[in-house]
């Protein structure tokens, strides 16, 4: 029998080093470790992969059925305009949003958000084709979609790469709200050809800035942070 000279424990004959301190067993009189059988087998187990195929098939079939039936209804019964494009476009948006959840879990979250933005833009384009007006799409619809896609990408970047503690995420959310409100107001003013200044979004911005400063203060002072965590935990 061999003992670890560092830990003082007896080691199973199959161990060539102490599993706790990695001290190598050197005992010339002992049976070589390779001859002793280990109480643990070498075979490594792997989990049978979970089947998500059923959910993926169900969602795809459901959305496809809705699209086809609405298309047929539009073609054969209510054929005054191409209203079914709205339903088909909506189904497409839902399908694209579902991709990272049920179809392909390894999809990069940045790419997923980008694809969502593209799908929404395409849907807005369909609406503009149906209504025959493109101004709102060019000056309002697409810029707002691009703004939200960009802000969500930033949110993902900060949550995944910087910090995802409760306070940090709250800070990102308030920043996101204030930036999106400013963006929406400026884009609306641009579309309506009003002077470019802030009104209602300035109120949102003020409220958000108060919260942002409070959170940053909490984050910068460890004692306050601990106290706030304790009092606000849920």
């Amino acid at each position: 029998m061999s003992y670890c000279v560092h830990c003082g424990v007896e080691l199973d004959p199959s161990l060539r080093k102490c599993p706790m301190c990695n001290t190598i067993v050197l005992d010339p009189n002992n049976i070589p470790w390779s001859e002793a059988s280990s109480p643990y087998p070498d075979r490594r187990g792997k989990v049978e992969p979970a089947r998500r195929k059923d959910a993926a098939i169900f969602v795809s079939v459901l959305l496809l059925t809705i699209s086809i039936t609405c298309g047929l209804l539009n073609r054969l019964v209510f054929s005054r305009n191409l209203w079914s494009l709205l339903v088909i476009g909506f189904c497409l948006v839902v399908w694209v949003i579902c991709i990272p959840f049920i179809f392909y879990r390894k999809l990069s979250p940045y790419l997923a958000v980008f694809l969502d933005g593209l799908a929404v833009s395409f849907y807005l384009y369909l609406i503009s084709r149906l209504t025959g007006s493109t101004d709102w799409l060019r000056y309002l619809g697409l810029p707002i979609t691009a703004l939200f896609t960009f802000l969500f990408e930033l949110f993902m970047l900060f949550t995944l790469k910087v910090n995802r503690s409760f306070f940090s995420v709250t800070l990102y959310i308030f920043s996101l709200i204030s930036l999106s409100c400013i963006g929406i107001e400026l884009l609306c003013r641009n579309f309506l050809e009003d002077p470019m200044r802030l009104t209602w979004s300035a109120i949102v911005l003020t409220v958000c800035v108060v919260f942002i400063i409070a959170i940053v203060t909490i984050l910068l002072l460890p004692r306050v942070r601990e106290e706030a965590r304790r009092r606000l935990h849920f």
């Binding site: 670890c4 830990c7 003082g8 424990v9 007896e10 080691l11 199973d12 199959s14 161990l15 102490c18 599993p19 706790m20 301190c21 059988s37 280990s38 109480p39 643990y40 087998p41 070498d42 075979r43 490594r44 187990g45 792997k46 989990v47 049978e48 992969p49 979970a50 089947r51 409760f166 601990e226 965590r229 304790r230 935990h233 849920f234």
Partner: protein, 433 residues
């Protein structure tokens, strides 16, 4: 829950079981790389014959309806329903036990049976039952296996009669029967020290098993005037304090152990499902440096104060309150999952530095004992990077199993070094290479 309906003169019996109070949480924490799975093993004196073992499993499992079940999702809660698919099939043991257990894999069974040389191992998802329930199943399978080999084993203790129908008491959610205190003591919520380490790749669980003599440990525990559980608890707290000190932290944090208490000792119940509650012995190094004797005394006083019928009843009532709340009950499952997971990762998981469970001294039927060498226990993969410790003893062999998903084994080293310094002989087995 049993429902009968008549359909074309045939009685179709549809049975399902509500998840018990503890079991509700475990499926919520399920991740691709984590399941709440524990492992119980028995080491026999002869090599295991897999075909006979399979027969024993097939014959025993119908006696344990809550273990022969699959988990399903309802709109508001998950539930268990009988699983009549083929299986579970015994398989040759693996190097990385307590692998995640996806609910739809393994023919929807939430248990696995392994064999290796002289060892039979049972792995079960915690949503089916606690260690005591699992031990009933393992010992009944083992007894049936030995019977099939020609031994005569009587029923009793953890060995149930497989010819008898399951007792309704074995299937009950015993928590609800005893959640009757008039106050609800608050849960501890202070942030504690967490073991930092290098995370192992997916599918790795490092096991360090210490094999000791029960009488030796008992003798040493007696010198401190405490029980074996209290002594080993104190040794683990001491190891965690040493580990924290070795990291030279910017500021010290309290060290706390999450320890399940078997409620059957205080509240009579035959249930084979979960019936445990957690207590949290802790040491706060910010108050000053603790000598080992002080830690032992502190743990002893804590256990004397908290482990009694009154406090435990209060604890059960606190836990049951959420499930009883009508507003919580009508919240859809996906929202409950989100909130519970958030609560667990943000609060509950940070509540303790390590887990420790003691199954105690096992009793087996007298005619079964000569066939058994010892029992092993593994608490399974920890939710975060920490180490879990589980203790079990049979006759004069006490096994302490550490399981962790980090490369470093400092806590294990401090723990066993302390035992060696106290004069206890420790033999180590491990799957670490």
């Amino acid at each position: 829950m049993t429902k009968k309906r008549t359909d074309n003169k045939k009685t179709v019996r549809s049975t399902w079981y509500k998840l018990d109070l503890s079991a509700i949480v475990y499926p919520t924490l399920q991740r691709r790389d984590f399941s709440s799975v524990y492992r119980l093993s028995v080491i026999l004196k002869e090599p295991v014959k897999p075909d006979i073992l399979q027969k024993a499993v097939d014959r025993t499992l119908p006696r344990f309806p809550t273990y022969k079940s699959a988990i399903r999702k309802g709109l508001f809660w998950r539930y268990l329903e009988p699983n009549n698919r083929p299986g579970p099939f015994v398989q040759r043991d693996i190097n990385n036990p307590c692998m995640p257990m996806p609910f739809k894999a393994n023919n929807r069974y939430l248990l696995r049976v392994y064999y290796y040389d002289r060892r039979i191992s049972l792995e079960a998802h915690h949503s089916l039952g606690d260690g005591t329930g699992g031990m009933y199943l393992l010992q009944t399978i083992t007894a049936e296996y030995l019977r099939l080999l020609g031994a005569s084993i009587a029923c009793g203790g953890f060995v149930l009669d497989i010819r008898q129908a399951p007792d309704p008491g074995e299937l009950e959610d015993a928590y609800m029967r005893y959640a009757s205190a008039q106050v609800r003591p608050p849960r501890p919520s202070e942030k504690t020290y967490r073991v930092r380490g290098t995370k192992e790749p997916f599918y790795t669980l490092n096991i360090v098993n210490g094999i000791l003599s029960s009488s030796e440990v008992k003798k040493v525990a007696k010198t401190y005037h405490v029980t074996i559980t209290e002594y080993l608890n104190a040794v683990l707290l001491h190891a965690l304090l040493e580990k924290q000190k070795s990291e030279n932290p910017y500021r010290l944090l309290p060290v706390r152990i999450a320890m399940p208490v078997n409620l059957r000792r205080f509240f009579p119940s035959k249930t084979l499902r979960n019936f445990i509650t957690m207590i949290y012995p802790s040491i706060d190094p910010r108050l000053g440096e603790y000598r080992f004797e002080e830690i032992v005394l502190h743990v002893h006083n804590y256990m004397q104060y908290y482990i009694n019928e009154k406090f435990l009843r209060g604890d059960i009532t606190t836990n049951a309150a959420t499930q009883r709340n009508p507003f919580i009950r009508i919240v859809p499952l996906f929202l409950k999952d989100f909130v519970v997971r958030l609560f667990y990762t943000r609060v509950q998981d940070k509540n303790s530095s390590a887990g420790l469970t003691n199954m105690g001294a096992l009793k087996v039927p007298e005619d079964m004992a000569p066939y058994l060498e010892r029992f092993d226990i593994c608490m399974g993969q920890p939710f975060s990077s920490r180490t879990n410790c589980a203790i079990i003893s049979f006759q004069d062999t006490l096994t302490i199993g550490f399981a962790s998903s980090i490369k470093e084994a400092d806590v294990e080293r401090y723990f066993f070094q302390k035992l060696v310094r106290d004069g206890i002989h420790v033999k180590i087995e491990s799957n670490r290479k």
